[in-house]
Symmetry: C2
Subunit: 240 residues, 2 copies
Amino acid sequence: MSGISLYYWPSLQGRGEFVRLALEDSGTEYVDEARHHGWDAIRPLLDGKHPGTRPFAPPILVIDGQQIAQTAAILHHLAPRLGLIPPDDQARLIALQHQLTVADLVAEVHETHHPVGTGLYYEDQRDEAQRRSASFRRDRMPKFLRYFEDVVQKGGGHAVSGEHTYVDLSLAQVMLGLAYAFPNAFAAFEPQVPGLRALRDRVVARPRISAYLASPRRLPFNEDGIFRHYPELDDDPADG
Amino acid sequence: MSGISLYYWPSLQGRGEFVRLALEDSGTEYVDEARHHGWDAIRPLLDGKHPGTRPFAPPILVIDGQQIAQTAAILHHLAPRLGLIPPDDQARLIALQHQLTVADLVAEVHETHHPVGTGLYYEDQRDEAQRRSASFRRDRMPKFLRYFEDVVQKGGGHAVSGEHTYVDLSLAQVMLGLAYAFPNAFAAFEPQVPGLRALRDRVVARPRISAYLASPRRLPFNEDGIFRHYPELDDDPADG
């Protein structure tokens, strides 16, 4: 069968959103399995009950009966078929490199609210989260965004090959997520990355993305996802 | 020119070691630039002074005049040429997925000693590091290693396609690194992953790897790298 199924936690954007944006932007039909059947739909895949390479964690894409995990690997495999990367090896490699740097940034965003451990509640690591968030807002967010600003400036407004690719979709999502999680810090910094702002604005104005963002398929940002808004993490702690 | 140059911090194994192991195992000639010329050799690449895609961070490989960053992207590009992955797309995709899960594990190891921020000294985040390490030793390390044990058991002792690939080299490095960083916790857990132990033993006995590990090119593990041994992070804190 040629259907495409996405398996991801049904109540948050998370890393699955980078895959959803590629599917939506390209007008690809897909089934968001756990949104329809609950996250029990994911369990057999994680338990290795499906043929093929067992995934460590969602998102998982099933395409042509093959399951693939790891966001950047999914996009690397899927994007040529969706027309979201030129089919040459060189462009695909550059896109993979950039998507992995996006993944590093996303992982550091997750660490801002869970520095002591993913298995613990946020409330039990709030003090540490404030320290981690302060260094993220001050050092890491500017470093990552200035880097991508340079990439996009040199790429004629795009991350790869002067063309619209899945990396642009991911960068737009990062800009939206940071604005949600750290509204004060992001608003203060945003003027320094005009190329990324323009890229984001162009992406959200694309007809299929615009329709998707207005649809119930787009979950709102919330405090179960990667980009979480805790006001105390957007302000300098008293001892900061 | 057809030479291969690796750019990585000259005084630690870090993420560069996953690339070094692939180069060494395949008997590929390469220049470890910063080991010869100091880390000033890396600066122009990070500053975007070289043609091609600017890297965000080392390791950076320059091959055929092209620069590539991100460990998993480097290995994805390099491995077919080194004979460290079957050349078919399917095997390459599975290897990429596994290498990204190795990268996730490695990132979590780094977080055990720098949970509050990479820009701060370890000594200024020791308490938080103890909490993070406790959850890593108790939950995350076992989860990752049990997952890869299952992968290797199903793969006839290998991660991909029942064949020796760069992913096996990376898994062996992870086993060595965890044993260095968390000797007590790792020794207690290791009997649960016999397939990974056998894989590690087989990798370190490979003639070129064995020679490399005994050479001055192999830097020792140390407290500047990713796998660091701080005794207090290998024992339960008093309040754990």
